[in-house]
Symmetry: C3
Subunit: 157 residues, 3 copies
Amino acid sequence: MMKMSEGRRKLGIVFASGASNRVCCLIIYGAAALAMGYEVKVHLVNEGLVAFRKDVLPKLSTGDAALTAFPEYFRPYVDIYLRNLEEAVRSGKIKDWYSWLKELKETYRDSFKIYACSVASQFYEVKKEDLADVVDDIKGAAAFLDEVYGGPILYIG
Amino acid sequence: MMKMSEGRRKLGIVFASGASNRVCCLIIYGAAALAMGYEVKVHLVNEGLVAFRKDVLPKLSTGDAALTAFPEYFRPYVDIYLRNLEEAVRSGKIKDWYSWLKELKETYRDSFKIYACSVASQFYEVKKEDLADVVDDIKGAAAFLDEVYGGPILYIG
Amino acid sequence: MMKMSEGRRKLGIVFASGASNRVCCLIIYGAAALAMGYEVKVHLVNEGLVAFRKDVLPKLSTGDAALTAFPEYFRPYVDIYLRNLEEAVRSGKIKDWYSWLKELKETYRDSFKIYACSVASQFYEVKKEDLADVVDDIKGAAAFLDEVYGGPILYIG
């Protein structure tokens, strides 16, 4: 078996949440790891898979509160986050999530893969052609776990 | 200290969520890892512990929306998931979660353990006898972390 | 590259949730790992960052349901948790989360660090001086990932 210490560092990310106040973590941790030379593989499951539909992903860069989830107490803070996110995207301070992912894929190519879970695709009735073009492939849990073994996995739930 | 590269691969799963649109991840990733020869250990905490009560676990294979959580936008997609899950179980296409877990435990025996967190058991007032028989034992966080060290941990929150 | 098997064991914790029925995991797993000699590093993001504001952290040790999140079905169980948590803190059976964190930091010093994510700090408008004194520093995702590489990461979402 390959030693965990051999070869390149890895980061696995399972995106289950689909929330616009969680997709930021996928991108911030993913971009940071890629910049440090890691291989980064994302597995889209549950609402996280739906969030990568062509018609949904753009909404995650907007201030639409229907795409967030949080304990009620935090509402005013999530409102601040959404306002700042929307303003930062509008002013060009940061790219919208889709464009940022697209750029990461162009820069890091095979080091950055985004897979749709095959079981989730069936149960949520999401087909490859429904998904944004940043999604590379449909893959099962075994393939994903195997590709990222040796590094930590962030399950963004 | 044992090298992470030595011995069998490991997967730790913390199940905190208890949602029927998250328990699928416990089983899909768990089953995939077991089939690849990993040791898989699950730690049940918070609502994830309650979900493994004898009287609750069967409900997670039904279309009952009270057991789901998601940003409001995803409601129609979660409805599709629940309908497909219920139909797949009814038609025998997949086993209900309890039966699937039971089968995994019979097949993989000591390679697949499910523990209830001792602190969660106290604070949620869940006793060993309240839990489905797929739960092996009550164990603390230290024992769980130690058993899975060397592999990634999916915190399903 | 340092072998994952060399040096001390590590645990990374990303606290994204901010819920009072999740912060327990940060502390229970963190304390267990520290007692076993691990290095533990926490990265505060999203509502998890807000939860560590001076004016919010004390509320996470109370029975205030506005700080919880769960599928509706679990409400009576979360009520039991909150009642037991509040009672345990009041009776001195356990410390409130802030005091427990403070004690862990005094005991384990450099082995236990809590960082606020720099991007989250900007988007949620949380400044260092707004945060409880158990937060050591503001750090980016790259620094956090690098410090914990070799151990698992619990993404408490």
